[in-house]
């Protein structure tokens, strides 16, 4: 069952482009073509406007919550070529940093797993991806990957924090030696995987080719303790692919077509337990997908205005397996 538990009237004056809940699922951040970012307290079915953040000079495309261990921090990116990092201080939300290093619309922002520190990846229509790392004392260090995607990067998504080898192998007390990776999708129809080298430079590790039009979104699935890595991607061409990589080196990715829709697919989002994928398309269609026991992706729900039923087929499949 998909049932509406809260309908938030955002009072945005133009199109909404993104809506994200915080870590706990108690606050909602929205952004819109009206250039504003709004934060609501949505606990217990309520909606209390906590903040109406003005600062962007163009439509705001995406918002992203940082992990709460760093405080209440929200990043937003806009057509105005800016990324703004907002922070709650003493109950008041304020701009804490503005990144103006892009030459065109910034389309996507994504915070790295909290284990790495406070790192934000930003993908822009200027084709570049920038990585902002908080270095303390109000300073942000910027690394930029130029020409990541010709004529534009549409989406960035971090790989979950995975330590190569076992945790036990790590010298005690030392920070685990994470390998930082993220995926990006762009107007060159490509998905690219980026990896931080030992010298701190970002290097293109993989090109994933299957889409025949702009890649609109990529979403790296949360880790659920399995060795497999999974990425979902969606495109202007209406296709949604699920990419999986089983080998430890992380170099062999194989795509599986989830579905070909009739319209552009704008967004893909994994559930926290990584077993359901929400796909939202240009025809205002939201569908939920789940992998059945035989590895097929099955649509389990059509969500319309937040409502939908869930087909039992997949669940039954699991029952039979017992």
């Amino acid at each position: 069952m998909v049932s509406v538990i809260n309908t938030v009237d955002t009072s945005h004056e133009d199109m909404i482009h993104d809506a994200q809940m915080d870590y706990y699922g108690t606050r909602l951040a929205t952004c819109s073509s009206d250039r504003s970012v709004k934060i609501f307290d949505v606990r217990n079915g309520g909606q209390i406007l906590i903040a109406d953040l003005r600062g962007h000079e163009g439509p705001v495309w995406q918002v992203a919550w940082a992990h709460p261990m760093y405080g209440n921090i929200l990043a937003s990116c806009s057509y105005d070529r800016k990324v703004i990092i907002w922070k709650e201080e003493n109950g008041t939300w304020e701009k804490t940093h503005e990144h103006t290093g892009h030459d065109s619309s910034v389309n996507s922002v994504c915070w790295a797993p909290h284990d790495y520190g406070l790192i934000l990846a930003c993908g822009s229509s200027d084709g570049a991806i920038s990585l902002l790392t908080y270095t303390g004392e109000g300073q942000w260090e910027v690394k930029k990957i130029n020409n990541a995607h010709t004529i534009g990067c549409n989406a960035v998504s971090w790989a979950p924090a995975v330590v190569p080898g076992s945790l036990i192998d790590q010298p005690s007390g030392q920070k685990p030696n994470y390998i930082k990776k993220f995926a990006s999708g762009g107007c060159d129809n490509l998905i690219k995987l980026w990896k931080e080298e030992e010298d701190g430079q970002w290097k293109e590790e993989q090109k994933l080719e299957a889409h025949s039009d702009w890649v609109r979104d990529v979403a790296w699935a949360p880790s659920i303790g399995l060795p497999t890595s999974t990425i979902a991607s969606c495109s202007q061409d209406g296709r949604v692919f699920i990419w999986t990589c089983d080998d430890t080196s992380g170099n062999t990715w194989s795509p599986r077509l989830l579905h070909k829709f009739n319209d552009v697919v704008w967004h893909v989002s994994w559930s926290i337990t990584a077993n359901i994928l929400a796909v939202s398309g240009g025809d205002n269609k939201v569908t939920l997908w789940k992998e059945s026991v035989d590895g097929q992706w099955v649509c389990i729900s059509d969500v319309n205005k937040g409502q939908g039923s869930v087909s039992a087929s997949v669940t039954e499949g699991q029952q039979n397996e017992q």
């Binding site: 261990m69 389309n107 020409n147 704008w266």
Partner: protein, 1081 residues
């Protein structure tokens, strides 16, 4: 931003939107010569490969044509949705001919690429358009008011849209309506446009503004509004684009006057009706919104006129423009910086051939236009208004607790010029529940746990079991809650005592039936009398004799040996009994050593009470028997261990069946962790229902262990913690947050569980349990003495104001993370006597970001003065310092965590944290932060937490004051690194002595203190070799007074090292180096 370039003087046509990859066809344009004066013509196809960063376009095919072209279009005719067939290229030639080419054949290099051609037109064919509804229909226009409609299925005979307009004039543009398929418009240089209705076969309206100065060079229908179209004028006196609405066709709706000279071409984006491209003789390419007239973008072009401009149908941000300087350029309207890497190879090549000077005059040809100074933009700004195609209209994102956040934007029905209708901008938060059965089973389990109805639950499970094994497991589990559990286990293994008794009786009866007994009786009666008679005590030399002699001498040992040697087992045993315990034991051993019978080992074990031996060495096929034996004989204290051992053996066997049986052993042993491990190995645990299967057993077994064995079930192993948190995560993902909380094991420090509990609690909008009462944070009285700091801090903190900061106006939130080492506030632990090992310690579940506090640049704050005075030399400011490594857990710093109602945690528990950054309990200073700890650093990692004058002074400061100094015992810095400390300290001293202003002095003072972080890291030897080496290099450069080199090395270290590893001290070091450099010490 320019993406690609081709040096051609040509007409251009993009491949249809369906086609992938994207091609651009170029056909040599008629009536234009480039500087080579070449009259040859060709049709070429290029591929737009955006993954290639160079400006070159990949040429796919060239076809030498006998024609030059006035117009080139690429229709999707007969193209399948997959784009396998590449449509048809339609070219308008110079002599009234229309030629159809097959682009796939051109690409394949075929000689025969022409599908058909027809020269029915008079004069050059300048206007061509494909009907987007019926792609087989092509309209064409030429001289003498000629308009033909071609059916590609029947190309020989074109139709006309109606009678020719009079007077005869050239047709310069033609366009099909984008909404109504039988409507066509044509326009001519005279400025008149005619709209045709093909169903009526006549012109239905003529559009002209009577100025007679319009000189139509472009005509385009509105992509969305059927009645609107634009006309562009080439006339320099009227360089305008007129927007017409046929509902009001007497004058233009809007006139766009953005060009200074005549407009040569226009193109209206199909992807966004607010984008109209126009290029003119003022050498500009503009993108304007025809609905408002606003110029959104001016392409950075060269100084040349463009005569043709086209949107790429597939990639809406891409357009191509053909200019009179013999170049076709592909641009993106999304801006971006053209970096220096974009270099065109061909440029270098062609210039080396010197084709700028075709006549060999030694002078390059002057450019066609006088170059105008155009501003060189390194950075090209994007469109003023975001194009429609990047405005995401819909979204669905998951969030914690199985919530789905969705929004959609109903397509805007824009009326003519009207503002968009008022929309409701709603976001829906939905609960997604996909695992109904999982939830109901989880619910049942929870009820059982609450009602303690374990037996009936197990029974239900037994009844419902579909496999034998499942049944067994549940039976075993059930037995835990019954009396005589061992007996019941035995029964389950097939050893029912009563049954066995019967069986034995039966067996005896069969073998020695009644008759035998009677016979025996008879025999007895026969022999007994003789027993009373004399018997011969032989003392001969044979064995008998020897035994006799030994017995007679009381030498039982030898007698027994003799009997054994002679294989008289019974005699030996009987004699041994007489010979005493020791001999008996020896004899038993020897007997077992000799005996070979199948059951000997069992007997051995029974007699010797060596069950370990059985369990260790029995054939695993007999695990059941081994387990039965253990159940029967094992002492309570070794019972669990033996079951475990057996289970382990079963598990290590490759046989998957045996592996699952191991679970039974673990159930008997009450070993939850091993049960989990074994089960996980055998089952796919990622599936919610199979996880449910496991958790049901685990929960019941834990309860059983609690009840029957009175064991400490509080210890939660790593694996169990993982499974339980997985389970709770699944429950949470289905929205059952309360249930997830209920199932999370309480008394554990496993970080994943602690984190999840916090998340769940907050997701519920509740405080973290253990701090149910908002007052608890202030129960300072409970805090042991010896830590006056936090108490003082709390007492000074007014509660009420704190609460009003709480943004949600509800219960004051939980003050951050605590370890749930003991969540019950009633337990005595809260008042444990203080000992260094039991300080109230709060281990944040996440590694803390570096948050140095009380930095040198802090303005003096109220209560800092005493702190400074008291600061012991090797003291480190306690509160949010920290890096994982340098604070040994017992370190006093770790006890500085203050403001929470700390549940005391045995320090050992912290060891399980990979990164016990101990910071001011500030982990989650989001919601609660303003409340409990107004003085805590409110910005992440901001050093200056006391910054704002008048801001409440935090507890932290007081903690500092009260820091117990006596407990600090630090390791020495390794000798080889001592030089670092001495060098740095020496440098600071030197700086201090030459610094004059108090501010600098204070900076240096603080720096000196903060370098303690570094020294601590050195003590703990946790710094990576690279950093250490770097530091030594810095030290060396300090020695040589080369501070700028030191700073360079510093930068290098910072840029290459892990931020959190160095952030505690590197910034300070930089301050010192900079100061030293400045002071020139």
């Amino acid at each position: 931003m320019k993406l690609k370039e081709v040096d051609r003087t040509a007409m251009q046509a993009w491949s249809p939107a369906q086609n992938h990859p994207i091609y651009l066809a170029t056909g040599t344009s008629a009536q234009q010569l480039d500087a080579t004066f070449s009259t040859s013509a060709s049709l070429e196809i290029f591929e737009l490969d955006l993954s290639d960063p160079s400006l070159d376009m990949k040429s796919c095919a060239t076809f030498s044509s006998s024609h030059r072209y006035h117009k080139l279009i690429w229709g999707p005719y007969k193209m399948d949705p997959k784009g396998n067939v590449s449509g048809v290229l339609i070219a308008g030639g110079e002599n009234g001919n229309i030629i159809l080419y097959d682009p796939s054949k051109i690409i394949a290099g075929d000689k025969e690429v022409i599908i058909a051609q027809n020269d029915k037109h008079t004069g050059p064919v300048r206007a061509l358009d494909v009907n987007i509804f019926q792609t087989n229909l092509v309209a064409s226009g030429a001289n003498e008011s000629e308009i033909y409609i071609w059916d590609l299925n029947n190309f020989a005979t074109p139709m006309t849209p109606g009678a020719k307009t009079q007077p005869p004039e050239d047709i310069s543009c033609i366009a099909w309506n984008r909404q109504v398929q039988h409507i066509l418009a044509s326009a001519s240089p005279s400025g008149r446009a005619t709209v045709w209705d093909l169903r009526k076969n006549e012109p239905i309206i003529k559009v002209s503004d009577h100025s007679n100065r319009m000189h139509c060079s472009g005509l385009a229908w509105h992509p969305d509004v059927a009645t609107q179209m634009v006309l562009a004028s080439e006339d320099d006196r009227l360089p305008v684009v007129q927007m017409w609405d046929l509902r009001f066709a007497s004058s233009p709706l809007r006139v766009l006057e953005n060009h200074a000279r005549g407009i040569l071409a226009i193109a209206w984006s199909m992807a966004d009706p607010e984008l109209l491209l126009s290029c003119g003789k003022d050498a500009k390419i503009l993108c304007s919104n025809p609905n408002t007239g606003e110029v959104l973008y001016e392409l950075p072009t060269n100084t040349q006129w463009c005569f043709d401009i086209q949107w790429c149908p597939r990639n809406p941000a891409v357009l191509s423009a053909a200019s009179f300087d013999g170049r076709i350029s592909v641009y993106s309207i999304m801006g971006g910086s053209a970096d220096g890497l974009r270099q065109k190879q061909a440029d270098k090549l062609s210039s080396s051939f010197g084709n700028l000077d075709p006549f060999g005059t030694g002078q390059p040809l002057p450019p066609l236009q006088i170059p105008q100074q155009t501003a060189q933009h390194n950075i090209v700004l994007p469109l003023k208004k975001p194009p429609k195609w990047i405005r995401r209209p819909v979204g669905a994102s998951f969030s914690f607790g199985g919530k789905l956040v969705t929004f959609e934007n109903v397509k805007i029905q824009s009326q003519q010029g009207a503002e968009q209708q008022q929309q409701q901008h709603h976001v829906f938060i939905s609960q997604v529940v996909t695992e109904k059965e999982f939830l109901s089973r989880s619910d049942q389990l929870q009820q059982v746990v609450q009602s303690q109805g374990f037996v009936s639950y197990c029974q239900k499970k037994i009844d419902a079991s579909q496999t034998e094994f499942e049944k067994h497991v549940w039976s075993f589990l059930k037995v835990n809650f019954e009396d005589d559990s061992r007996g019941k286990y035995l029964e389950l293994l097939g050893y029912r005592k009563e049954d066995l008794g019967k069986k034995i009786a039966l067996a005896l009866n069969k073998v020695d039936g009644p008759e035998v007994c009677i016979k025996e009786g008879k025999q007895e009666s026969e022999f007994l009398p003789s027993a009373g008679g004399t018997f011969n005590i032989s003392i001969s030399g044979d064995i008998d004799g020897l035994i006799t002699q030994a017995l007679l001498t009381g030498n039982f040992e030898s007698a027994v040996d003799l009997c054994l040697h002679d294989n008289r087992m019974a005699d030996a045993i009987i004699l041994a009994i007489a010979g005493g315990q020791e001999l008996l034991a020896q004899t038993q051993k020897k007997y077992f050593a000799k005996s070979q019978s199948k059951i000997t080992r069992l007997i051995t074990a029974v007699v010797m009470k060596n069950w370990k031996e059985i369990v260790e060495s029995c054939d695993l096929k007999n695990w059941r028997e081994a387990l039965a034996a253990v159940l029967t004989y094992a002492k309570p204290d070794e019972f669990s261990a033996l079951c475990d051992l057996l289970g382990t053996r079963l598990e290590s066997e490759g046989d998957s069946l045996l592996q699952t049986q191991a679970c039974l052993c673990y159930i008997c042993a009450g070993n939850v962790e091993k049960l989990v491990a074994c089960w996980t190995k055998a089952q796919d645990g990622s599936n919610p229902l199979s996880l449910q299967d496991l958790i049901e057993k685990v929960v019941i077994l834990r309860k059983a262990v609690q009840l029957t064995q009175a064991m400490d079930t509080n210890t939660v192993g790593v694996l169990l913690a993982e499974k339980m948190s997985q389970y709770a995560n699944l429950l949470a993902a289905q929205g059952s947050i309360a249930a997830a909380l209920a199932f999370l094991p309480e008394n554990t420090n496993q970080p994943n569980i602690v984190q999840l509990r916090d998340r769940l609690c907050r997701a519920q909008g509740q405080p973290v349990p253990g701090q149910e009462s908002p007052k608890i944070p202030y129960e300072r009285q409970q805090l042991p003495k010896g830590r006056p700091g936090p108490m003082a801090g709390h007492t000074q903190m007014p509660r009420a104001p704190a609460q009003q900061y709480y943004p949600h106006g509800e219960n004051p939130p939980p003050p951050g993370f605590i370890m749930h080492g003991n969540v019950n506030p009633n337990t005595a632990t809260a008042q444990l006597p203080t000992s260094p090992g039991h300080m109230h310690t709060q281990v944040p579940p996440y590694p803390q970001p570096q948050r140095p506090q009380n930095g040198w640049n802090d303005p003096p704050a109220l209560n800092r003065v005493p702190k400074k005075k008291k600061m012991p030399e090797n003291f480190m400011p306690p509160v949010p310092i920290t890096s994982p490594i340098m604070n040994p857990l017992g370190d006093p710093q770790s006890q500085m965590l203050p403001q929470q109602p700390s549940a005391p945690v045995p320090l050992s528990s912290q060891a399980s944290f990979p990164q016990p950054h101990l910071a001011g309990g500030q982990t989650f200073h989001g919601i609660q932060q303003p409340l409990g700890q107004p003085g805590m650093p409110s910005s992440f990692s901001k050093p200056n937490i006391e910054g704002a004058p008048g801001a409440p002074i935090g507890n932290t400061i007081q903690h500092v004051q009260s820091l117990p100094t006596e407990k600090i015992t630090k390791k020495p810095i390794p000798d080889e690194h001592l030089i670092l400390k001495t060098t740095f300290e020496d440098l600071i001293q030197r700086c201090l002595s030459s610094a004059t202003d108090p501010q600098t002095k204070r900076k240096l003072d603080d720096a000196s203190k903060r370098l303690e972080f570094l020294y601590d890291k050195l003590r703990e030897q946790t710094l990576s070799p690279t950093i250490i080496n770097g530091l030594h290099s810095i030290a060396r450069s300090i020695e040589s007074r080369n501070y700028s080199e030191g700073l360079t090395i510093h930068t290098h270290i910072v840029s290459t090292s892990n931020f959190s590893e160095t952030s505690a001290f590197m910034p300070v070091l930089k301050v010192v180096l900079t100061q030293a450099n400045k002071l020139g010490v």
